[in-house]
Point group: C2
Chain length 400, copies 2
Amino acid sequence: MARRLGRRAFLASGAAVLGGAAALGGRELLDADPEPAAPDSPGRATVAFHGEHQAGVVTPGQAFASFVALDLVDGVDREALVRLMRVWTDDIERLTRGAPGLTDTEPELAAVPAGLTVTVGYGPGVLTAAGREDLRPGWLTPLPAFGVDRLQEAWSGGDLLLQICADDEITVAHAVRVLVKEARTFATVRWVQRGFRNSPGTVTPGTTMRNLMGQVDGTSNPIPGTEDDRLIWIGPEGPAWLHGGTGMVVRRIAMNLDTWDELDRPAREQVIGRRLDNGAPLTGTHEHEEPDLEAMTELKLPVIESFAHIRRARSDDPDHRFLRRSYNYDESPPAGELSNSGLVFVSFQADIDAQFTPIQRRLDQLDLLNQWTTPIGSAVFAVPGGCRPGEYLGQRLLEP
Amino acid sequence: MARRLGRRAFLASGAAVLGGAAALGGRELLDADPEPAAPDSPGRATVAFHGEHQAGVVTPGQAFASFVALDLVDGVDREALVRLMRVWTDDIERLTRGAPGLTDTEPELAAVPAGLTVTVGYGPGVLTAAGREDLRPGWLTPLPAFGVDRLQEAWSGGDLLLQICADDEITVAHAVRVLVKEARTFATVRWVQRGFRNSPGTVTPGTTMRNLMGQVDGTSNPIPGTEDDRLIWIGPEGPAWLHGGTGMVVRRIAMNLDTWDELDRPAREQVIGRRLDNGAPLTGTHEHEEPDLEAMTELKLPVIESFAHIRRARSDDPDHRFLRRSYNYDESPPAGELSNSGLVFVSFQADIDAQFTPIQRRLDQLDLLNQWTTPIGSAVFAVPGGCRPGEYLGQRLLEP
């Protein structure tokens, strides 16, 4: 079978074992083995937990994500938050290296780290509960209302956020379960948004993801490790407790695929300003080329229309940029509908007010894409910096 | 970064390209490329569509599945069903080889087949609409009510079923969209259940999957390609239109992970009758060993308890067996709950009445696992045999 052969070649070091199974008349007689396959299998990959920044921000997007927003229960104060953060820090450190959580009841499900990262964010409620409202950055507040918004409470807000990403969905589900369970006396689940990209190994690493409208989504991101770092990470000019941290926007963007289907291919390309096949701007041939916003057709019309998404999403101000790290969602459609699909839009930026909001205002005013996309959820979180061994996440806020 | 290195080694043929990107200061300058990575990447894998049987039954379980149940709209008759089946057959053949559907509006999303299979099933309503009720096998009817059932209409029944499986969730979402859209004038979506297993390459191929209770789930299945085929495929003794087909049960089994957590490890192993670490029966050391149901402890107690799941799920009658092909689900929890997890239980068998129902009755009467699992959905479908080039799925029913 082609698929089986593909896998066999794919995991060369597993071939001997698989050959043995094949010799037994097709029966897969391998014992259930919680160990990932080959030493270089994506199941064994780990991302370092300790460091200046939390993982999961500039980490290349894993295949799956769960975004879990929680609300603190009444009576949770600074001391309680310290306890929760100590427990979470310990468990995140364990799970991300493929070890069970401290009180893990399904340790076998922890054995495949698959590049797991857990990123913790704080909504405004954490600063209130901790008695640290004076340390709240100005942007840590709900975004201004935009005309396109049709926000639902069920997908908005939250005191705490867990962004849990890995290249295996069982790994994600297990980490969600462990961390939500550890928090049960401190917080209740407000919403969970699950998202996906291509599976590990199915497309060339580094390929920009496609959303379910078929568009290349996430080109021209700031480049980590360059001077663009100032756009991503909060530096000495921000609150000390957020040094090495970032601001995070999570918006649920519903896509109306049924009306999008009514557009032909040239119209779709005009809406975005990019080619559908390879994501190149309509004035170029390669995805990462700069679009030429001045270019005109022979009829003296702009090649990239005034209403095109890439024109509207681009500002003359080089500070109006942010790191996008979005995921697709595809859920059961409500009665009478064909689909329930969209994007868990995620962006990281040092200052949401200065970088994100101006662009969102431009898109709100005029962006033809608004006709097929509707924001139905919105939340803002402050992501503290990373921690060293012996420290816990958020320590510089809770025990400065 | 360890994860990046893991991926790099993992996709050796992509390393040169990635090295080039790394040289550009970490920026991923690769153009978006709808082609899957290496020739032996799991993204390029295909499963043959044409054949004696439909794919997706004995095909080793891919990482992701969507189960879409549809209801025929009023007025759909035999001729309309012929039109729908011709369109679906054509599109399934295209999509499973990595080609866009005939009227595909997002052709780039079709470029990664990732082992895609689409399996079509008929509920009783198809035979009614086609005026072929005389050809309905006795088992093509809702299962008898079991005492443990708490069935919800929202997860039960359906006139048509699409089982869509692949190793990439974008591939699955795209195929669902194409096929549901093609059917829009014939049928409405009744329910969609999405499920997952480990990602391609994260565990050794052939490893039995684990469910979210942490149990090895699916040991001691019938073995395709052996005399067990008579348990899976409908032979000459069945209706001619189902020759080479099978009967399919889809049940949604909710897991109460919170009360399951209250059990310690030995108690959990007693509930199942298997070891949690490697799935071996409590009387043995390897997963695929036969359990010794007579074995006694020194205290003259059975090693495998009378209430253990593997004892109850096992019959003295060798015909009381079926092929399980289940998937995990993990959805947003309802307000006040910690999780919403379980199993999309799927089984294939030549005769549901003769093979599946007796075992389900045994489990209903006494199975300690019932305390932590609740069937909340149930549906039964007849899966017609496969088709040759030029034929369409279900032709032997619709145009005999």
